[in-house]
């Protein structure tokens, strides 16, 4: 058996080892004309047609490989999705690796290949990168930091100031599959059919705009899940929101994982879902459009936007028994419970 190839400090030292990593791995898989000169900065083509949108994100998930994806895949989807829900068409991405000495090179390679694949799927180019290696014990195998550039076409605005009383809230699919897949991998639970929902949603978003759906606002419920996104929307807009528990369908396998670990699915991350608010007159068209797309097959209306709020807890959830309760932000992380 061949010994496992490991990342060494030399891979980040600027010498031959680093050059070989860049040429054999990054250039080979990310190939595009902006990256190939390997200059200090990628000089892009002139941009027209709208306002530039810029985002940045860090990815530190443990474990780096999980059912349905890995950190490389996630890093591109996460960046693309942040641009997409801002109404932008994602274009270029930068991608920096912080590797821990001793990290298997196979893991790095796997993440590079998945990132390249996700970039092709989303129609974006990885145009600049960086590699740093930290001594063993000072990192956790692989961290990825990205930035993404997109263009918001003329006339698009998905800011929360557009949220209006009477708008309906639509979720593109069951929430929390990503978190459930990560938790299952982390705790050695057999996930069965469970896979992360991690996917670039820009195609889904573009389909909505092509269908002339008047999207008022749009978010991707990542960290903190639906609970966090709904509360942010309510605070930014000054409007109260209400969702209906029985209208939020959840994947049974994910539900089992959360129940087993004592976690609330409403606060669990998705990486391939969108939550949008739109006038009720556009809801039917939006649902039809979403459901005709593979990433939106289970889209449904889950709630509505109410009037202005004075309450410090502006988001509520009504359950199937008719009781309405507050849907409050988590304090700290959602800690596992004893019983």
């Amino acid at each position: 058996m061949k010994p496992e190839r490991l990342i060494q400090l030399a891979h980040g030292a600027g010498g031959r080892a680093m050059q070989s990593l860049i040429r054999d791995l990054f250039l080979n898989h990310f190939q595009n004309p902006h990256l190939e000169p390997l200059s200090d900065a990628a000089v892009l083509s002139p941009i027209s047609g709208g306002r530039p949108a810029l985002t940045t994100d860090g990815f530190v998930v443990d474990p780096p490989i999980f059912p349905g994806g890995d950190l490389g895949h996630l890093s591109i989807c996460g960046t693309v999705n942040d641009l997409a829900v801002a109404g932008a068409r994602p274009r270029e991405i930068t991608w920096a690796l912080i590797l821990e000495e001793g990290c298997p090179i196979d893991l790095v390679e796997r993440c590079v290949i998945s990132a390249a694949k996700a970039a092709r799927e989303a129609g974006v180019s990885i145009v600049a990168g960086d590699t740093k290696v930290v001594p063993r014990g000072r990192g956790d195998r692989i961290f990825i930091v990205s930035a993404g550039l997109g263009i918001v076409p003329e006339g698009r605005d998905t800011g929360d100031h557009r949220l209006s009383t009477g708008d309906l809230l639509i979720l593109s699919g069951p929430p929390g599959d990503h978190a459930a897949a990560i938790m299952a991998a982390r705790h050695g639970l057999a996930p069965g059919s469970l896979v992360s929902d991690c996917a670039p949603v820009n195609g889904l978003v573009e389909a909505l705009f092509e269908d002339k759906v008047d999207v008022h606002t749009m978010h991707d419920p990542t960290r903190g899940g639906l609970t966090a996104v709904l509360n942010e929307m309510a605070f930014r807009s000054g409007l109260a929101l209400r969702i209906h528990e029985s209208d939020v369908s959840i994947n049974p396998a994910a539900s089992t994982v959360f129940e087993l670990l004592g976690l609330d699915f409403l606060s669990m991350a998705s990486e391939g879902r969108i939550l949008l608010a739109l006038p009720s007159s556009h809801a039917e068209r939006a649902i039809r459009c979403l459901r005709s797309h593979p990433l939106g097959r289970d889209a449904s209306v889950i709630g509505e936007v109410l009037g202005p709020h004075q309450d410090r807890a502006p988001v509520t959830i009504k359950n199937a028994y008719g009781v309405e309760r507050v849907l409050d932000l988590l304090s700290g992380s959602d800690l596992p419970r004893i019983c």
């Binding site: 028994y321 507050v326 004893i338």
Partner: protein, 365 residues
């Protein structure tokens, strides 16, 4: 539809609520029902069951959150131990944010104390093996639900000759506080919703003293809304018929005699001791400490200087744990004390009465 779905089914829930309303009409007086399990507290608040009750029925929470009943002095000791060199604390997540007299484990961790959150006590075996130069101290809290797995951990550690693993014993058992609550003249509890998980281990027969000695009405129930409502309906019926008993409604997992293996394991490792409960004071025979053959794993025996324990000023966790005060009755509730800045333990764990109330009840502050 599987069994769990059935217990969540809104038609089943609505039908049970109807039956409770009908049955309550003939009640001679209002009744108070206490749940003594944190997961019940959480489930009742999350499903909003209090709002579905007729006015004759009051649901209150008792000392069922294991973290909440853990006295401040336990955490103080944990932190002092954690500050010793080459020491790593391991804890259930619930305990992580609970304030001690000074810091919480969370803030202490940021200051450099090594604290690992584990899901299962058994994870400590791995921690001990991976960190052979450190002493791993597991903060052993919980009721009869966690005690058998902690006992199993210590037996396994002995069998593996793992010398760098100890526990700080803080486990408690449920029957003694049920006696204390039944005897409390300030607290008029008619019936108890008995804890499902604890009952799996100790069995339904362990509560026989409730009807026999105190004429209390009770039902052992599971954790779905329908499970809990079945229990309420059962207690209403017992009150009307004046037939106090322990009715096992969690018969799909709870037997009369409990889990004999788990009980034997607990008995091999632990013996009962007097223990302090936040809010209830010292209750004879309500705690578990290590038997002599396992005494070398008792971190309480490590000689340390302990600062005097300080309960947070103004905090009414004690009264809330006894069920004599609802959370909004505490002057700190929702003001100085909220989930982002918990003053008392009841605001930390999602099983804590204050946290459950704060999170789920509709309110304007």
């Amino acid at each position: 539809m599987n069994t769990t779905d059935l217990y969540h089914d809104s038609r089943v829930v609505r039908s049970l609520v109807d039956q409770i309303h009908k049955a309550s009409r003939g009640l001679p007086r209002s009744i108070t029902i206490m749940e003594v399990c944190g997961t019940h507290t959480h489930a009742i608040a999350r499903a909003g069951l209090r709002h579905l009750m007729p006015e004759e029925i009051r649901l209150i929470s008792g000392p069922g959150c294991p973290v909440c009943v853990t006295p401040v002095s336990f955490l103080d000791r944990a932190l002092v131990l954690g500050r010793r060199p080459s020491t790593r604390l391991a804890t259930f997540g619930d305990l992580y944010r609970v304030p001690s007299s000074s810091l919480s484990l969370e803030t202490a961790h940021a200051e450099g104390i090594q604290v690992d959150i584990v899901y299962s006590p058994r994870d400590c075996m791995k921690l001990a093996r991976e960190n052979p130069d450190e002493l791993i101290i597991f903060l052993a809290v919980g009721f009869e639900t966690t005690a058998p797995t902690i006992a199993a951990l210590l037996v396994e550690a002995d069998q593996s000759n793992l010398s760098n693993l100890m526990i700080l014993p803080g486990n408690k058992i449920m029957p003694p506080p049920l006696r204390t609550l039944s005897e409390d003249p300030d607290l008029q509890v008619d019936g108890f919703l008995l804890p499902g998980h604890v009952s799996v281990v100790i069995g339904a027969a362990a509560y026989a003293f409730l009807p026999d000695e105190y004429e209390k009405f009770s039902a052992i129930v599971g954790f779905t809304p329908a499970d809990i409502l079945r229990g309420v309906l059962e207690i209403v019926k017992q009150v009307k018929d004046e037939t106090p008993c322990v009715r096992n409604l969690y018969e799909r997992v709870v037997s009369d005699g409990g889990n004999r293996n788990a009980l034997a394991l607990m008995d091999r490792v632990f013996h009962p001791c007097d223990a302090e409960w936040r809010g209830l004071g010292v209750i004879p025979g309500s705690g578990l400490t290590l038997r002599e053959p396992f005494a070398h794993r008792n971190a309480e025996r490590i000689d340390v200087d302990m600062p005097p324990a300080r309960e947070p000023a103004g905090c009414r966790c004690g009264d809330i744990l006894k069920g004599t005060l609802d959370p909004p009755g505490c002057p700190l509730f929702g003001k100085e004390c909220h989930p982002d800045n918990p003053v008392g333990a009841c605001m930390v764990s999602s099983e804590g009465s204050c946290s459950a109330w704060y999170r789920h009840e509709k309110r304007s502050l």
